[in-house]
């Protein structure tokens, strides 16, 4: 049998075979059935050796005796030939044989039908699915890498990579152009520099200085290698893989062969592909950088949309479990780990503290592993005011802390999701506030009468700091500078249907708590 052709055969009980081609010939013969379709011996039809022929005979015998009392599912797998490889390559897969019994109305066996199924198309489909899945995985890793690194750092990396890839592309085009001019006389890609002055002048944009003695290949390799290493370090695995591919192609060109021409054009395509991948990442970054507090949610949604669009042609129910899990995971992406909070607000705290010559440890705790960005980005403004205030005014200078016998300052951030509300608690271990002093300030500012002030308990007195006119411009005492910021924080929280609380005692630090309605609701119960 020609293994390349899928087809249909009949095995007769006497061990001879009729091919579908012969059957078709018989059926199409003009003027009714012509001569019976030609029968050929089994061994010829299937290319069997003597032993296989013997076993096939035994199998046919068994089928003849047992087809009534043994399920066909049990008999068919025992047929000695299940697949045919002759003349096929590994990646084409075999031609599979499927056996069916043909019976007459009384359950008598007439013949055995054999369907030869070419597995190449289905293997190609499986391969395509696998590639698709790999691509999805890489895209998801991109998202995670974007989320896991501070935007400034990622931005710097992307810019660096852009310049390097631009340099690499120019280097490669220059080489191709000069090869086109000089033909065979052109020094090889990996041999000494061709046009030193030219290459130096044009390569100003690349991030590293050019050594004039390097070959074009070396320069290209170095740029690609840097991009690959940095991309890998940031977790941009698809970019790293792309750079690796270009590197490999470049490496292959070290020893020119007959296939070099093809390798060259593959390298051109690979470099262009790298550039496209990078542009994609840069676009994503711009979304983050340009959109303020909800940027992370936006970028994740954007990426998610693309993933879903990309998989629109696939029916999720038909996907293999691992791929389905990956897609499910992307659906959950808008939920971030609490570590994201540490990164986002920790960076802010560190920056403010640094400017003020202070050192503050920022610690995040949470009662859940999934933090919804919206639950804190909607009060982002309040959080920023509170944290700024704490670092600026709550936390003492290092000298002051040392005199008070305190160690390194700490600001704690706690995210507590309850069924019907969300708490964001922020506490410092700084100098704290004295309710009496706050009350006095309020009276002095004319915000309330002495009698009213005295009637307030400590919490009420401390609450005065959220009033808009509670601003003092006097120099450092326990309340100075706790000005408009906290009033804005209070307004931001109340605009979101939440409450802002403060509690403090002199010398023992300050605690703020933001109480918010759960996601999707405007009011606290």
């Amino acid at each position: 049998m020609d293994a390349g052709s899928a087809g249909f055969f009949l095995i007769h009980l006497d061990g001879t075979v009729t091919s579908s081609a012969a059957l078709a010939g018989q059926l199409s013969a003009a003027g009714g059935p012509g001569a019976p379709a030609a029968r050929i011996p089994l061994n010829k039809a299937f290319g069997l050796n003597a032993e296989q022929e013997l076993q096939f005979g035994k199998w046919l015998d068994l089928v003849g005796k047992r087809h009534r009392d043994m399920r066909w599912d049990k008999l068919a797998p025992l047929a000695p030939v299940q697949e045919i490889w002759s003349g096929r390559k590994e990646d084409e897969g075999p031609v599979r044989l499927a056996y069916r019994k043909l019976e007459d109305g009384n359950g008598n066996l007439i013949a055995i039908a054999v369907f030869a199924i070419d597995t190449a198309p289905s293997r190609a489909m499986v391969r395509q699915l696998e590639e698709e899945r790999e691509r999805h995985k890489l895209e998801i890793r991109d998202v995670l890498a974007l989320a896991a690194n501070p935007p400034e750092t990622v931005g710097a990396f992307l810019e660096d990579a852009r310049m390097r890839l631009e340099g690499a592309r120019r280097e490669w085009e220059r080489f191709l152009a000069s090869r086109a001019r000089a033909g065979e006389n052109q020094p090889g890609l990996w041999q000494g520099s061709v046009a030193k002055s030219e290459s130096v002048a044009e390569s100003v944009g690349t991030a590293e200085s050019i050594s004039a003695d390097e070959s074009a290949g070396q320069r290209l390799f170095r740029e690609l290698h840097m991009v690959k290493g940095n991309a890998g370090a940031f977790g941009f695995e698809s970019l790293a893989a792309g750079a690796q591919e270009s590197e490999d192609l470049l490496e292959a060109l070290k020893h020119p062969t007959a296939g070099s021409e093809r390798t060259s054009s593959r390298l051109t395509a690979s470099l262009a592909g790298l550039r496209m991948q990078l542009d994609e990442l840069i676009r994503a970054m711009k979304l983050i950088a340009g959109e303020g507090q909800d940027a992370m949610t936006r970028i994740l949604k954007w990426k998610l949309d693309r993933l879903v669009a990309g998989s629109a042609e696939l029916d999720p129910a038909r996907l293999e479990p691992p791929l389905r899990a990956v897609i499910e995971a992307t659906r959950k992406l808008p939920f971030l780990s609490p570590a994201y909070l540490a990164r986002k607000y920790g960076n802010l705290v560190e920056r403010i503290a640094h400017n003020l010559g202070k050192q503050v440890n920022f610690r995040v705790t949470s009662n859940t592993g999934d933090v919804h960005p919206e639950s804190f980005s909607r009060v982002d403004e309040a959080l920023v005011h509170i944290l700024r205030n704490m670092v600026d005014h709550g936390i003492e200078s290092p000298a002051e802390r040392e005199a008070a016998g305190k160690g390194e300052a700490e600001i704690g951030f706690e995210y507590v999701a309850e069924e019907d509300r969300i708490f964001l608690r922020i506490r410092d271990d700084g100098r704290g506030m004295d309710p009496a002093v706050i009350a006095d300030r309020g009276v002095a500012l004319g915000l309330l009468s002495r009698a009213d002030a005295d009637a307030l308990d400590d919490v009420g007195k401390l609450g005065l700091i959220f009033l808009e006119r509670f601003t003092t411009r006097q120099e450092a005492d326990m309340v100075s500078g706790r000005g408009l910021g906290l009033a804005l924080a209070a307004r931001c929280v109340s605009d979101r249907g939440g409450n802002l609380y403060v509690y403090s005692r002199p010398g023992e630090g300050t605690r703020f708590a933001i109480e918010l309605p759960p996601l999707g609701q405007k009011k606290l119960p």
């Binding site: 076993q55 035994k58 043994m70 399920r71 049990k74 025992l78 000695p80």
Partner: protein, 128 residues
């Protein structure tokens, strides 16, 4: 009355697995278990079970040998070959008279395997 089964396999673990499945899932009474072909023949004589399961590669007397002795003495014996061996030997056993076969490994954790196992046993019990 419960159907009876004799299980013969040189792996004690597999015998135990099979015994448990026959007893707990299929409602059989496990009449005896053996670990070689000689025991298979003796136990068949002693118990005349509704079904005997037979491994093929076993010490002393192998499954094929035991099968042909049993078939000679008890032409109506219902023998189920349970083996990892496929190909000519299995064809031969079926030609000698084994009613059907189940391929090892035993995957009682897999629905497909369990379905096939039950169907195969049911099919054998239907035969005269």
């Amino acid at each position: 009355m419960d159907k009876t089964v004799v299980i013969v396999d040189d792996s004690k673990f597999q015998t135990m697995q099979l015994g448990r499945f026959f007893a707990d899932v299929m409602g059989f009474k496990v009449a005896a278990t053996g670990e070689n072909g000689e025991e298979a023949v003796e136990m068949y004589r002693a118990h005349k079970p509704d079904l005997i399961t037979m491994d093929l590669t076993m010490p002393k007397l192998d499954g094929r040998g035991a099968l042909s002795l049993i078939m000679k003495e008890f032409p109506d014996a219902r023998v189920l070959v349970i083996s990892a061996v496929k190909g000519p030997l299995l064809l031969e056993c079926l030609a000698i008279g084994a009613k059907s076969y189940v391929e090892k490994p035993l995957r009682f954790d897999k629905d497909d395997f369990v379905r096939d196992f039950k169907a195969t046993v049911a099919e054998i019990l239907q035969s005269p």
